[in-house]
Structures are given as C-alpha cells and as structure tokens.
C-alpha cells in the first residue's frame, strides 16, 4: 500500500497540468494529504515488519541489465515517508496564496514530493538514483520561477551542486553495479566488496550524497538556495530534500561499504562537527532572517552526519530521528520567515523587522516562531531535544571530544536562535510602546493549519520519541555496518 504514496503524488502532478487553475491548490492539498494518509495508515498497521527492508513491489523493468522496479519498506523509510507527507501538506498550505502560474507551481512541488517518496522507498539502486535525480530539476524551476532574492543565482547554484553530487553518485553506483553484479539493495547488502574498492568508492558515493545533506564545506548551496526559494520551496528543501542525501548515504554508501565506512568515518565526524559549529557561528552574524535559518539547517544536518559517523545504534537511530525532527522544525521556521513575515512586511532584514513591533501585530506568528525556536534550540519536550540527545549519547561512545565541541556549538545555536527571535519579534522600541502596532493582514486559516500540523508533529515526537524510535532502532540494528 505504501507504494501508492508515489503513484498518488505523480498522478496528482499530472492531473494538475490539465485542470483549470482554480482547482490547482485544492488538488495539490488533496494529493499531499492522501500521500500522508497512506503513510500514517502504514504506520498504524501492526503486522508490518519494519525491522528489515521488506519488499513491497518487485516487477522486472529492464531484465537485460538486471533492473527491477523494486520498492521496500523499513522503519527508517517509513519515518522519512511520514516527514515527507507532513512537509508536503504544510508546504501546500503555506502556498495557498500562490496565484501566478499556480498549476505549474504545484506541479513542480508535487514532483519534488513524489520523487522523494520514491527515493525513500526504492530498493533498487538504479530506481533510487532515478528518483534522486528526478528531484533536481523541479527544484530549479520552483526557485528560478517563483523565488525571491537573487533567485536565478540561488537556483542555478543549488542545481549545479546537486548535479555535481549526482555525478559522484553515478560513478559510485556504476562501480557497485559492475563489481557487485546486481542493483538490488538487499542482494548487494550480502555482497562482499573488496576493501580496495570500498576505500575509494565509499568516499565518492558518500560525498556525492552528502552534498545534498549540506556537508561542510559543500554546504554553500543551502543558505543561498533557501533564501532564494519561495516559502514552499525552502520548506521542501529543508524538510525533505536535505534528507534525501542523508538517507541515501545511510542506505547505500554506509550499508553497502561497511569497511569503507570504517575507514572514513572519523573524517565524516570531523566534517560534521566543523559544520555544526561553523554554520552556527555564521548564522550568528546574518542580517537576513532566512539566512539565519538556512545556516541553522546546515548546523542541524551536521548532527545527522555526526550521528552516522558514530557507527552505533544510538547515534544512527538518533540521526534518523533528527532527520524527521529537522524536517518538521526547518519547515516551520521557513514558514514563519517566508510566509508569515515576509509576505506581510516585504522584508526579512532583522534590522528592519526589529522596529515593527511584530509580536503585537502578528501574535500567532510570534507564538509559532517561539515554539519553532525552542524546538530548534533543543529545549526538552520538542523533537529536536530527543534526537540530538540520542545522537550525543551515541557520539560519547565513539568520539567523546566531538561531544564537547558540539556542546559548545549548541550554545551558539541557542545564541543565534534567540538573537533572531528577539530581533524579529520582541525588539520593542521603548520610546514607541504606546504607538499602535502596524496594520497587517491577519494570519489566514491555511497558515494556522499548516503551522498547527508542524507544531503538533514536533511536540508529539518530542514528548514521546519512542513512537518513532521503536520503529527506527530495529531497522538500524539490521544494517550491516553495525555487525
């Protein structure tokens, strides 16, 4: 049944193209909700074995070259399918005001979503790569046509970075295919690649994927891309697209090349820690609210990579949980900055925002942003805390030093988040307190619904992380590099 997430989304995208414009956003919403509902329904089924990457569909596709249309599911995939659904629904809700070329907009948006479902569910390497590359071009158009600041530059940079990563991945996949003689991920997971091959193919493959996960120093596409993108685009980028890279790195690079991973994991840990601290420090100096959030995304994704590098159950499970958590929180932050604030004030400059008394003009936005910031800082009770503490426990076993440095980095995260929060909403001009808050269009119902969904998700997982961890952990334990 889970396979229908892909079909429903692509079918919705195609139908969108021929439908009159008035239906576009409704159809997009229905499609996104349907995809999420399928994910939730699978989540609620108790008879599904989520500990192993179990085949859902397997149809021969190009028998001459051993390619199959092969989908499978385990706890990790399911978690990411859920976050994709949540991000998709909220992205559509926060794009409710898109009227110019609306069909096209939602078409590209649904292609990104559908391709992401495909990546998370593929059990055939070629199929996975197909979906992975399929996401690149829609992102370009979403940003270049519908974006804001410096959109063509941001879109091209993001696309070229993605495609550069894609070229590295292509090479790695060909190496796997030719030496392993198969494209089936489950079969390949049994295959013993020579250490010599692993030593060079692993870094190529992992780096290729990690470009999309925003690994330092190849992260620079992320802030510019996020800033240039329309609100829904940033939400999808932070919520889903960065996860594609991390997920594929785990599922393909680490799982197929365990020895290569052992050889290189210290390097990954170093890059991850540098990324966490560096991005947080850079975020502290940004003037544009979206840049702050963009760099915070890079910092949070650094936690995912650090979790991978620990190579133990805690660290990796925490990393998967962090992917979910950041998907939700990142989407929420961008929704506030891009839709709630920018659409009304036409500026994201912190200096300009600080004089606007926004907390009184837009109380709901202020409330949402406080929740999102708290979640982002890792306050207990939100998903960010649950994920990051799990990662750090895992890291303590492998790299104690990294935990110390990351701990310092988390202070920086708190610093830049609080700074952004204060400057944007709570910088009350004391001389001007009596003045009435500026007139602004009130927060609309779709915005409230979208924000509510995201806040609910981060709270639910924060208060009861076992909900996801119970499904993630067995799947992680089944991975080869832990044995």
């Amino acid at each position: 049944m889970i396979a229908w997430t892909i079909y429903v989304t692509f079918a919705g995208a195609i139908v969108l193209l021929v439908l009159p414009r008035v239906f576009a956003r409704w159809l997009a919403l229905v499609t996104a909700v349907a995809g999420f509902a399928i994910g939730v329904a699978t989540f609620c089924q108790h008879d599904v074995d989520l500990a192993h990457f179990r085949t859902v569909v397997r149809v021969p596709w190009v028998p001459a070259l051993g390619m199959n249309y092969h989908l499978a599911l385990d706890g990790i995939s399911l978690t990411l399918v859920l976050v994709t659904g949540i991000a998709a629904i909220s992205a559509v809700l926060f794009s409710w005001d898109v009227t110019d070329r609306a069909n096209e907009f939602f078409f590209w948006l649904l292609l990104v979503v559908g391709g992401s479902y495909g990546v998370f569910l593929s059990a055939d390497l070629f199929l996975l790569f197909l979906f992975y590359e399929l996401v690149i071009v829609p992102k370009y158009f979403l940003i270049a046509i519908f974006g804001s600041t410096n959109k063509e530059y941001g879109a091209m940079k993001l696309t070229l970075y993605s495609f550069f990563g894609g070229a590295l991945v292509f090479l790695g996949i060909i190496a796997i295919y030719v030496t392993g003689g198969s494209l089936d991920l489950n079969q390949l997971a049994q295959f013993q690649f020579t250490p010599q091959l692993q030593s060079w193919a692993f870094p190529i493959l992992f780096l290729g994927f990690a470009v999309l996960a925003g690994i330092w120093p190849l992260h620079t596409w992320a802030p510019t891309g996020h800033v240039a993108a329309p609100t829904a685009g940033s939400m999808l980028l932070a919520g889903i697209v960065m996860k594609l890279g991390a997920y594929a790195g785990l599922r393909v690079a680490m799982n197929l090349f365990p020895q290569g991973f052992q050889m290189w994991r210290t390097t990954i840990a170093v890059l991850a820690v540098v990324g966490i601290v560096y991005a947080a420090a850079v975020a502290l100096r940004q003037r544009d609210l979206k840049f702050v959030i963009g760099y915070s995304s890079v910092s949070h994704m650094g936690f995912v990579l650090l979790g991978f590098a620990t190579a133990n159950v805690f660290g990796v499970s925490g990393a998967v949980l962090q992917m979910f958590s950041h998907g939700v929180i990142g989407a929420l932050l961008f929704a506030v900055a891009g839709r709630m604030i920018y659409r009304r004030t036409r500026t994201r400059e912190l200096d300009a925002l600080s004089g606007m008394n926004l907390s009184r003009a837009l109380p709901f936005a202020a409330f949402t942003f406080v929740v999102a910031s708290a979640a982002s800082m890792g306050i207990p009770g939100f998903s960010g805390f649950a994920a990051e503490i799990t990662i750090l426990i895992g890291a303590w076993k492998s790299y104690p030093l990294a935990v110390w440095i990351t701990g310092a980095g988390m202070v920086l995260v708190a610093a830049f988040t609080l700074r952004a929060l204060k400057r944007s909403f709570f910088d009350v001009d004391l001389a001007n307190t009596a003045a009435a808050p500026p007139e602004m269009e009130p927060i609309t119902i779709p915005e409230k619904l979208g924000a509510g969904l995201l806040m609910f998700a981060t709270l639910a997982v924060g208060l009861y992380p076992k909900l996801l961890l119970d499904r993630i952990q067995p799947a992680v334990e089944a991975m080869r590099f832990l044995k």
Binding site: T159, L160, F170, L171, V178
Partner: protein, 501 residues
C-alpha cells in the same frame, strides 16, 4: 545469384530510390508539389520500412557488400524512421523553394545511410559514405536566399571531401596489408600482436573520416557552422541519421575489421591500436564540446557543440568494445538522434515565429506555447542525462559498459571525465530552459541587422502556423518517444542486444 534475388534483398534501397525519383517528378510536374511531395515521400519510406521487415534474417552477398542481419535491418529501420520524421520538418520550412528536389535529395541521403548500415565491406562503405555525403552537402546549401546556408554547405563540403580522401587513403593501406576489403576477412588476415607502423597509418587515416562524420574533436570544426547555417531539416538530418549510421559502421569496422589491432586505452596500460586513438578523440570531444558550448548564445551552435560532446560519450561504448559496449553505443546514438531531431524541430518552429534562433528568441516560450516548451525541456534534459528520460538510461548503460571493460577498471578515467562533462553540460541546457521558462519575451522588435534576419518575416506569421502543424505533431511524437524510451528502455535496448551476435 539471379538479379531477381538481388533485387529482393536490396528491395528497401530500391524502393527508396524509386520514391526519390517519384518525388522529383511530382515536384517538377504537379502544381501542388508542396503538399504532395512530403506525402509521397512518407508513403515510400513507410513501404521501405515494411520491405526491411520482410527481408530474410541472414544473407551475405558479394563478400560482405550487402549483408542482411538483424542488426543491419534494425538500423535500416531506425535510419528510415529518422528520414521519415525529417520529412514533416522539410514540409514546414518555407525557405526551401523546391520541396520536391529537397525531399528527393533527402531520400537519396537515406539510401546512403542504408548502404552504409547494410554493408560490411570497405568499398561499399565508402560508396555509402560518399552518397550520403553528397546528399548532405546539397541539403546544407539548399537555402539559396541565405548566405549562411551557402557557407554551411561549403564548409561541410570542404571538410567532408578532405576527410573522405583520408579515409580512402587509409582503406588503401589496409587493403595493402590484408589483401581484401571485406571486414570479416580483414579481421582474420591481420596478425594479432603489436601493430605495424604501416597498419597504424591505415587505421588512423580511416578513423579520421569517421571522426569527421561524428564530429569528434578535433575534426568538429564544420559542425557549428553547418548546424547553424544549414536549413533546419538538413541540420537535423546531419545530426541524426548521418551520425547513427556512422556509429554503426565505425563500430563494425573497428570491432570486426580491426579487431586484432585493438590496443588498450587503460589508464596504466596504454597500448598502440585504435582504442587509444578513439579514447583521445572521445576525451577531447567531451572536454571541448562541453566547455565551448557554455559560451554559446545561439541555440543551434549550442546544440552543435553539445553534439561534439555527445559524440565523445558515444565513443566510450566502442572503446569498451564487446557486445555490451557496442549495444550501449548503438542505444545511445539512436536515442540521441531522436532527441536531436526533436530539438531541431522546436528550433525550427521558434525560428519561424520569432525570426531567429538565438537564446533571446526563446524567451517566454513557456507562455507562448506550453507544449513546445515542455517538449524542448524533455529533449534538453534527456541530453543532459536526467531521469526519467531516455538519455539518463542511455548514459547509465554506456558508462557502466565502459567501466566494466578493460582490466581492473582501466577506463575509469574516461568514465569520470564523461561524468564531469555531463555535469558541466547541465549548466548550458539549464540556461536554455531558464530562458524558456523564466525570462519574458522583450517587446522590442528584432533589429534589422540581427544575425538571422533572413527568416524574420512576421507578415507570414499566419501562413506559417498552419504549416507548423506538422512540425508540432512531430515534436510531440518525438518528445513522447524520448519519455517512453526513458521509462521503458527495454523496448529498444533488448532489441539491439538481441540483434548483436
């Protein structure tokens, strides 16, 4: 061997020749030649395709002069299909004053393609090359009202005839060494082992002619001018049919005829032979084609340089050799040809509507004609190698074949280079798409001194839209084919693989 039997086996070629003559007659006599000629040509081509399907599966006449095999028949069909889709482009091109003559020459070119594909003997191959070449020279220079067309024809002719001379020279050396002109016999006569200097000269000279045909650097210099200046259907045919047939023949010559003189292109174990020569050509083409394409402001020139790069990728399969590599090359060149005809058809429509084929003429195409814009993005993204389009699978097939070949992944350097090249290429394809989807058309009228002023006849606008119907249908069909071959590559790949011995 009776003449009747010969005629039976050469029926497809004969049918196309007869059709060409019929078209010529119709063009001269009928008052409605413009409408009739394409129809006659289309029917004749379709009948010829039927005749190819009726051929026996194996036959060999005159020591390889006419060989009928599943592979040859498959590619005769592909070449005929490419000629068939070029016909509607020719019918909507206004600048071609005598459609009968033009289409007749096109069909004669198609006969050249069929002879090339259907022969495994050097003399026949050379005759095929010349027949094809002469038709293409005429087609390139056909637009008498445009000086660029004349330039394209002359450049193509000068480079082409020089390249032919090299090839003939090379063939004579090879004949001197082997004492025969049949490919299979040459392959047996040539001694395995180190390549003798005389044979090396022969091989290199022979390859030069083909490097010219496939526009591999450094023999690509004609391509940008020919692609830009020639009438659109001619450029499309030069870029598609001629290329497919050349790759088929090149593959047969080196893999069958020069099999003992293969050498090795592996990184640490280069060995004299044809494969290092082709590897150098491929590497140069990939680098030069992609980097020079970055700087182009004219879409046709851009397509020409990208064609140079694609020629480089396609060579990878032949260098890899074997059944796997050759079938990857054949698959890639076929889908490339389909894609490029489509792209040229779009360029043709845009050129008639907006009076030029520079990048700025494509601005706002998405709002003017969503269908053309969508088709163009399918073609360009397929060229860039993005899923779910045919080019993506083609590249995967090609690069994995190259990676597999050679000892200890010796061709890794070429694969990495090709991947780097296709990374670079995405930029210029995206720039075209950006212009189509993001930019808005500027309201200013085209400048009188603009490069393609010859086609800027806005008063003909209404006339052209009805003629463009054929072009638009062709574009849509080709875009659907590219998408279909991307989703179901099995349909073509398995057929090619099965036809190879």
């Amino acid at each position: 061997m009776s003449y009747l039997e010969l005629l039976k086996l050469a029926a497809p070629e004969a049918i196309v020749v007869v059709t060409a003559l019929a078209v010529l007659t119709v063009g001269l006599t009928s008052t409605r030649a413009k409408a009739l000629c394409p129809i006659v040509a289309a029917i004749g081509t379709a009948v010829a395709i039927g005749a190819v399907l009726m051929l026996p599966s194996h036959a060999n006449l005159f020591g390889g002069m006419l060989v009928i095999s599943p592979l040859n028949s498959l590619f005769k069909i592909i070449c005929l299909v490419l000629a068939l889709v070029t016909v509607p482009l020719a019918s909507s091109e206004k600048s071609l004053r005598n459609p009968g003559e033009y289409i007749a020459v096109l069909l004669l070119g198609a006969v050249g393609l069929m002879l090339l594909v259907g022969s495994e003997e050097f003399l026949m191959i050379f005759i095929g090359l010349e027949l094809l070449g002469l038709s293409l020279y005429v087609m390139a220079a056909f637009d008498k009202s445009d000086v660029r067309s004349a330039e394209a024809g002359l450049k193509y002719f000068l480079f082409g005839s020089t390249a032919s001379a090299f090839t003939l020279f090379g063939i004579s050396f090879v004949y001197g060494m082997a004492g025969t002109t049949a490919l299979a016999a040459i392959g047996q006569k040539l001694a395995a082992g180190p390549v003798q200097p005389l044979l090396a000269v022969g091989i290199v000279m022979t390859l030069i002619g083909f490097a010219f045909k496939i526009a591999a650097a450094p023999f690509h210099l004609w391509a940008p001018d020919a692609y830009q200046g020639a009438p659109i259907p001619s450029a499309a045919f030069i870029a598609s049919g001629s290329k497919v047939a050349s790759f088929v023949v090149l593959g047969k010559i080196v893999l069958v005829g020069f099999a003992p003189a293969r050498g090795s292109a592996d990184w640490h174990a280069m060995l004299a032979g044809w494969s290092p020569v082709l590897a150098v050509l491929a590497a140069l083409s990939i680098l030069l084609g992609n980097f020079v394409a970055l700087a182009q402001a004219n879409v046709r020139r851009l397509l020409a340089y990208s064609a140079v790069a694609h020629g480089g990728y396609t060579l990878l399969g032949i260098i890899a050799g074997g059944r796997d590599g050759f079938s990857a090359t054949l698959f890639y060149t076929s889908i490339y040809a389909v894609t490029l005809v489509g792209a040229f058809a779009v360029v043709g429509v845009v050129r008639r509507e907006s009076g030029g084929d520079d990048l700025q003429n494509f601005a706002g195409l998405a709002s003017r004609s969503p269908l053309l814009a969508a088709s163009m993005s399918i073609f360009l993204l397929s060229l860039a190698g993005l899923p779910p389009l045919a080019g993506f699978f083609g590249k995967f097939y090609l690069f994995s074949a190259a990676f597999r070949a050679g000892g200890n992944h010796g061709l890794l350097w070429l694969v990495a280079l090709a991947l780097f090249g296709s990374f670079v290429s995405l930029y210029y394809y995206l720039i075209v798409l950006k212009v189509i989807f993001v930019d808005q058309r500027s309201s200013s009228t085209p400048q009188p001194g603009q490069s393609n002023a010859g086609a800027a006849r806005t008063s003909d606008f209404n006339v052209s839209t009805s003629l463009d119907l054929f072009s638009r249908i062709t574009v849509t069909v080709l875009a659907a084919a590219v998408l279909f071959l991307g989703l179901m590559p099995q349909t073509l790949a398995a057929r090619i693989l099965a036809s190879l011995p």
